[in-house]
């Protein structure tokens, strides 16, 4: 059983996400540092991500695209700021236009990931993200709504299938 704790700070538009894994810090780090792992969890279900560039160094970039249910593509990027494997990762993330250029002067968020040992078999991962509420959110919200509708439809199907 896995749990995730999320604290919201409205005044500072900040989210703090914490979860404990039965895995080593190196293994948890790999979720972020291995592009083939990253693309398996970064995008929400109807928008799986494909990571294209993945340069995890200060000043480096990660570029990816998410593919929607209609085949629509949404490009995104990370600007990597700090990297201290396997303990710490700081990056800004945002959407990119069709050519891969950041869509806005403002990134959507700045995230700080901290990975720490809890005991011999457990590792705690904490992500503190600060969001820019004035950035263009239409795309993000549209994707969120689509996911919500999809989930609701799936639940209805499941209920009907139960008979």
């Amino acid at each position: 059983m896995s749990t995730v704790d999320i604290t919201k700070d409205l005044e500072n538009a900040t989210l703090i996400v914490t979860s404990v894994f039965a895995a080593s810090p190196d293994r948890v780090w790999r979720l972020w540092a291995d592009p083939r792992q990253l693309e398996r969890w970064w995008g929400p279900d109807p928008y799986p991500a494909t990571v294209v560039d993945h340069d995890l160094r200060p000043g480096g970039h990660v570029s990816y695209y998410m593919t929607g249910p209609e085949g629509d593509q949404h490009k995104g990027y990370w600007c990597v700021m700090e990297v201290e494997p396997p303990r710490r990762l700081v990056f800004e993330d945002g959407f990119a236009d069709a050519t891969g250029e950041p869509d806005d002067d403002l990134p959507l968020s700045r995230a700080e990931v901290t990975i720490e040992i809890v005991d011999e078999v457990h590792t705690r991962m904490t992500i503190e993200s600060v969001y820019d509420t004035t950035a263009d959110l239409e795309q993000v919200l549209a994707m969120g709504m689509e996911e919500g509708i999809r989930t609701a439809v799936e639940q209805i199907h499941a209920l009907l299938a139960e008979g």
């Binding site: 896995s2 995730v4 999320i6 919201k8 409205l10 005044e11 538009a13 989210l15 996400v17 979860s19 894994f21 039965a22 895995a23 293994r27 948890v28 979720l31 792992q37 398996r40 969890w41 970064w42 929400p44 279900d45 968020s109 991962m125 992500i127 993200s129 969001y131 509420t133 004035t134 959110l137 993000v140 919200l141 969120g144 996911e147």
Partner: protein, 117 residues
């Protein structure tokens, strides 16, 4: 639970709001907050009670979601203006759901490690 105009208000929220309004001083603070230009210290000067007591009243109103403190220079202005918060709330609710999904998928990936290949 109260459902009104498509919006669900929990009993908890209703209790907090009515509890906040059940005090005359708090109702007075709320009417000043609608003007939105008094800081906490300036508000405290209006009432024959300690600063700490006024702070507590403001805290009750804040927890009920009726006022918020808007930073203005070194002052913290007590105001009813929720516009700024609404945007933040929508954004954070969305990202909370997004991160719940991401962390669940991370756990799934790590669980896959344990499966025989």
């Amino acid at each position: 639970m109260v459902v009104h105009m498509g919006l669900t208000i929990t009993d908890e929220r209703a209790d907090a709001v009515f509890g906040a309004l059940a005090d005359a001083t708090r109702r007075d603070i709320l009417s000043h907050a609608m003007g939105g230009d008094l800081g906490v210290s300036e508000l405290a000067d209006l009432y024959p009670m300690s600063f700490a007591a006024v702070q507590k009243h403001v805290a009750v109103l804040e927890r009920a979601g009726l006022v918020r403190k808007r930073p203005e220079g070194r002052r913290r202005v007590v105001t009813t203006d929720m516009d700024g918060l609404l945007d933040a709330r929508v954004v954070l609710d969305h990202y909370e759901e997004l991160w719940r999904g991401r962390v669940a998928r991370m756990h799934d990936l790590l669980d896959d490690d344990d499966l025989p290949s």
